[in-house]
């Protein structure tokens, strides 16, 4: 871990979230990149790549289901974990904190719809 960064450092290829696992944390990329991988069936499909300031794992916060994809570091990545309770408490105190979450989730929905249309 470097001295001047926050969160936890994951090495290239290291799994941060495993598809099918349960979890109630949400993650923000402080440095580096991660890839979101769909491991359904025998093959792996990289569905998205995320970089600095992006977040992932938000479904674990809003739904009770298992993780829908695997997330792993692409190169070295520093990730900050945010737990469900403190995020909900913060949003309860300041609902505008959810603006960016909604914006990003809406972007993702648009991307997924586009990808489905292309198929």
């Amino acid at each position: 871990m470097t001295n001047n960064s926050l969160g936890h450092v994951y090495n290239d290829g290291e799994v941060i979230l495993k598809q099918g696992s349960v979890g109630d944390c949400f993650y923000v990329i402080q440095k580096g990149m991660v890839e979101i991988v769909d491991e359904t069936g025998d093959k792996e499909t990289v569905v998205a790549k995320l970089g600095e300031t992006d977040f992932f794992g938000e479904m674990g916060i809003f739904e009770k289901d298992v993780r829908s994809c695997t997330v792993r570091a692409k190169g070295e990545a520093t990730i900050l974990t945010m737990d469900k309770r403190s995020l909900y408490k913060s949003i309860q105190k300041d609902p505008s904190l959810a603006f960016r979450l909604l914006e990003k989730m809406s972007n993702r929905l648009r991307e997924t719809t586009k990808q489905m249309g292309a198929k």
Partner: protein, 458 residues
């Protein structure tokens, strides 16, 4: 006229932010930058085009007091998380060290409290370029980083001191040595600057500035190697029985260690008593006289009582100038009040009654929490003086830190008290939890018996 919306009908149109509105932010510390950033963000979301100018008297590129907003430089865990959720991730050239644990020193011993998730979750940084003589050109000051974020969003930065404010029929005139410009809204993010308070009082006559006390900050230039060896990624906090000191901390950052002393009117004599204590001396290499490696020291003021009536039509004061968090996480409080003021101004309006209704509640919550904070610090002072209680707490924390899965009740209480991450009310509720109290009483009684036994053994 839209008769279905009576609130909109009765609103004075000149007291709302609309396309072309101009906002002046006086003071480019954290509260000023947070206000500008969020006001512009909310305006963009609402489809309103506004202009924001930040006036800042200091130059954050200069080392030493001239470019520094004197502070311990800790960005708390809760603020790191909130900013991350907002998409503001502190870059590594701003973070001088990621803090992973707190090392607590008492006369009874030393113990380490780890972060709840064993991650580096707190940042240490310099508000300015660094202490006198600092030459680390690759690093960026925290305040400068926030100002740059604002500039990228479209805010204009005006590096000039505001010397007066004047209320006119159509707005507020902001005067510098070279210019006078009229604005629809003026934000007072002037920290604890008495001169600036005087001209805010002129346009907001009911405003009563916050009350303050004197604190102490100095830096020791130890170098990376010794800092890694003696401090690592741990902030050292001291609960010692020393007159007037409520809290002392040594914070590693870059080549330096920052000393912060909070309490009642800290002066040179109190500082000496702290530096001469064994617990503090033990933290540094024996062969080094720390007074010889201290390029910078200051006695800045800190809020001990919130301001009152910190708004009027077209004017609102935020951050330290309004309400802060007692002794801790002032930057986190600046974020809260700045964002509350931005929400009120953009979504509601800029009249006195808008600020009363939509901004004041955020300040009131901080002020109420500070009343509990005062109680907690009163109890802490009693604990500081009581060897028996300190022994109980010490042994409780040591045991909690040894167990992997156990609920770390006292550790989490101390963690949040030291870091300022949780509201004081939450901390008090956890202290009053029967399990915490029973464990504290048990550990204290055991401590007394152990002490008596060891005395008898002698």
């Amino acid at each position: 006229m839209d008769n279905n919306n009576p609130i909109e009908v009765t609103k004075d149109k000149s007291l709302i932010i609309e396309n072309g509105s101009k906002i002046a932010v006086i003071g480019g510390g954290p509260s000023g930058s947070f206000f500008a950033y969020f006001a512009l963000d909310f305006a963009e979301r609402m489809g309103i085009e506004i202009q924001i100018d930040i006036y800042e008297a200091k130059n954050f590129h200069v080392a030493g007091p001239a470019g520094c907003n004197h502070c311990g430089g800790i960005v708390s865990e809760s603020l790191v998380q909130a900013l991350s959720a907002e998409g503001i991730v502190l870059p590594s050239n701003v973070i001088r060290r990621g803090i992973k644990s707190y090392t607590m020193h008492m006369e009874q011993g030393t113990t380490v409290i780890e972060t709840p998730l064993r991650e580096q979750r707190i940042a240490s940084m310099f508000r300015g370029f660094g202490p006198l003589g600092a030459d680390d050109v690759d690093s960026v000051s925290f305040d400068n980083y926030l100002l740059q974020l604002c500039e990228k969003k479209g805010v204009s930065l005006i590096y000039e001191k505001v010397i007066d404010l004047e209320r006119t029929e159509v707005g507020i005139d902001v005067q510098t040595k070279t210019n006078s410009v009229s604005y629809d809204l003026v934000i007072g993010s002037v920290g604890l600057n008495p001169r600036s308070f005087s001209f805010f009082k002129k346009i907001t006559p009911a405003f009563i500035p916050p009350e303050t006390t004197k604190t102490y900050i100095c830096e020791f230039k130890l170098g990376h190697e010794l800092i890694n060896q003696y401090f690592g990624n741990s902030m050292h906090v001291f609960l010692l029985n020393l007159k007037n000191i409520k809290f002392g901390a040594l914070i590693p950052k870059g080549h330096y260690v920052t000393l912060v002393l909070l309490g009642n009117q800290i002066d040179k004599e109190i500082v000496d008593s702290f530096l001469n204590s064994d617990a503090v001396k033990k933290c540094f290499p024996k062969e080094i006289d720390i007074r010889e490696i201290s390029p910078c020291q200051c006695f800045p003021s800190i809020n001990v009582k919130n301001a009152r009536y910190a708004f009027s039509d077209r004017v609102v004061l935020i951050g330290d100038s309004a309400s802060s968090k007692l002794y801790k996480n002032g930057i986190g409080a600046a974020y809260i009040t700045a964002k509350a003021a931005a929400k009120a101004a953009i979504f509601n309006g800029v009249s006195e009654s808008d600020f009363q209704k939509y901004y004041q509640p955020a300040c009131t919550r901080l002020n109420r929490d500070n009343s509990i904070g005062k109680l907690i610090f009163m109890v802490t002072t009693i604990i500081q003086k009581s060897a028996v209680l300190k022994r109980g707490i010490f042994s409780m924390v040591v045991k909690e830190q040894q167990k992997e899965t156990d609920k770390r009740r006292m550790s989490s209480v101390l963690w949040d008290t030291f870091t300022g991450s949780a509201p004081y009310t939450d901390i008090l509720m956890r202290v009053l939890h029967p399990a915490t109290l029973i464990s504290l009483i048990t550990n204290t009684i055991k401590g007394i018996f152990n002490l008596n036994n060891s005395k008898n053994d002698k």
